[in-house]
Symmetry: C2
Subunit: 395 residues, 2 copies
């Protein structure tokens, strides 16, 4: 049995590279960016009008001129026109190029227009006001987005702006999720008294879908030769295999010996934690094997606590640890790291974690009433209200 | 011009009902559940063995018996067998039915097995240990999931367990996102000096994709008759129209008058906020129109601050307001609600908001460096470090 610290280090020291691929930018939401995005031109690319109104030469206003004849209109999307006479003005629209020889924009709210003459109704103006100067937000070649970040709506907008119709992102691992256990039947079947429906594969599918990893699933019966044949094939075809069940001490828990016989190098088996202790982790040259214990909460917490960080590091994404404040005293005697389910509440900016005790690792329904696991360290029995600990959110 | 408070109330008082639909449960991640999910049987459905080991009748142990002959094996997924002789034991596997006449399970770690005889190596046992009693987590008919919640991986697991292969969820609104502005060209085009690429429609597409709303997009030229013809059609075909641009005071900002001529009832136009002031909001009997100002940050913040809550309330989802602590003093003179971009950091469970000043509402790239908007109220100029305010996250 290894400590959680050791298991976590082992997982992070055995990450894999899945490569990169180009995808249409509009399909890249949630993916990990794998190129620096730089400005293809200055931002804004021209002296940009930022208010609908009137463009003038400020010098004329400074010299006391209040009325300006309208020479023309500069619409957004039109070629730059020219203010021919510095005593005149041009109507300008938000997003338009500032006309040549003009430098200051007065919004419609602050002028009166009559018979082609604009009169300014305010006492003072700032030289250059309401003009978004070329290059103010960035210059051509500036890095606008660094690589190795998750692409959100904000980045999608920038990608569009700089014309990145295709963008380089981390390739996702090819993942197979396998359930074992002869007590399991399909979701649309009616189980006999001693049977239950498959559920762990679907929670795993959903947990990986949150990472934009689309997976395949299979169920293998508790029969060693069949397990061996199928897993041998999967080890060659997938980057990652996630198992749920058959890694503990039962007579039909064949997975650890099947892995061994198929050349999967065991990196650890059993972690000093609750729930999820019988967790198996191993690798071949090209495939990484997460053997999660079959109890629903065990599978769930191990996927979040180990597979997620392994994936993040594999794609070079840095993720901050989130902390929360324990809402009440907790006592936990076994010398194990305790992943305790909590309901989170934001109280005036403070993230408070309310422990909700389920009925043990088989109690899937209890996850519905909580938001995260709070990670309470080993070598400690009493955890005090008000102390802060890391949390792992799942919603 | 209306206040943010009034605009927000107006939006929340004009929500719409989009109906419900049944989808395969595995496609329901992120959707809003529209039925109560109850247990189709007790949980667990039988007295369930929760450790691999040996099942006995506790009475024999209490009377001093330490060695038990193995009568048989109860595997997971097998019909319940019977302990015929209460002085014997049965090997049992995690997930199996507890054999009849047995009531207590001792894990393999605590016994020695030799020649078909199990010897218990621990001094004390608890009557009924390692048995997950039928119905302990819930009884048949118990509500496991209430309606009107977002379906996460946890709920997917419960849906699978109770055999809900199809599940009732809120139908999504049919949404068209329209950009206007003759300065805009496509993402894969090279803009002329006075042009820029379309980006707001794509940020909107992505912001709605976060809500699992899949949208259509269109671009309409700044030509009033064309705008009118197309929008007339869209008003009939879609539940929601989102516009970006053409709602302000410009000569080609035709949208407000087009909406009026097409019978869109204006509920407000212009909100006392920065950025995003020229926001138009209106409705026909069947279509809701959000006319966002065309500056990138204006479109972005208005979608988050108004469309999101409107959608949440429309599908009856309650979402808590999240608060964060201001990391430094901020001063803002105009009597407007100020949506200020912030970078969020969790420091020992406290959510700290670091203001990052961009270069105004046109500075799309600044969104890349922030995580949320903090909402600073009007009627106030100085905002103090350490004070808490609501935030709107976008990542």
């Amino acid at each position: 049995m290894v400590s959680v610290k050791k298991a976590f280090e082992t997982v992070l020291n055995s990450t894999k590279y899945f490569g990169v691929e180009k995808v249409p930018f509009i399909k890249s939401l949630g993916r990990i960016l794998k190129e620096e995005i730089s400005a293809d031109r200055d931002f804004p690319p021209f002296n940009r009008v930022s208010m609908d109104g009137i463009a003038i030469d400020y010098a004329s206003f400074r010299q006391g001129q209040k009325s300006f004849e309208i020479e023309g209109i500069q619409a957004a999307g039109s070629k730059q026109i020219k203010l021919h006479n510095s005593k005149n003005c041009i109507e300008v629209m938000t997003g338009a190029v500032l006309p040549k020889n003009a430098n200051t924009v007065i919004r419609y709210e602050d002028v009166t227009i009559k018979n082609g003459i604009t009169t300014i109704n305010v006492e003072s103006l700032n030289d250059g006001q309401n003009v978004h100067i070329k290059g103010k937000d960035g210059n051509m070649g500036d890095i606008l987005i660094s690589e190795n970040i998750i692409i959100s709506a904000a980045e999608i907008g920038v990608l569009a702006t700089v014309g990145k119709s295709f963008v380089k992102v981390a390739k996702q691992p090819k993942v197979m999720i396998v359930s074992t256990g002869d007590e399991l039947v399909g979701v649309d079947e009616v189980p006999l008294e001693h049977q239950i429906r498959r559920s762990n594969v679907f929670t795993l599918v959903s947990l990986l879908e949150r990472l934009n990893i689309y997976t395949e699933t299979a169920h293998i019966t508790d029969d060693k030769p069949i397990l061996k044949t199928k897993i041998k094939k999967y080890l060659q075809e997938y980057d990652v295999l996630l198992f749920s069940g058959a890694v503990s001490k039962g007579k039909y828990d064949f997975l650890p010996e099947v892995f061994d016989e198929l050349g999967v190098k065991k990196l650890f088996h059993k972690v000093a934690q609750r729930p999820g202790k019988p967790f198996f982790y191993g690798q071949t040259d090209c495939c990484t094997v997460f053997g999660f214990p079959g109890n629903p909460i065990s599978t769930f917490v191990n996927c979040l606590a180990y597979f997620y960080p392994w994936y993040y590091k594999s794609v070079a994404l840095e993720v901050d640890v989130e902390m929360a404040v324990l809402a009440e005293d907790v006592s936990f005697k076994p010398n194990l790291v305790y992943f305790l389910q909590v309901k989170l509440k934001n109280k005036q900016g403070k993230l408070i974690a309310f422990p909700i005790k389920g009925n043990g690792s088989g109690d899937l329904a209890s996850l519905v009433n909580t938001d995260a696991f709070i990670q309470l360290p080993d070598n400690n029995i009493e955890f005090k209200k008000g102390d802060t600990f890391p949390i792992i959110r799942y919603r």
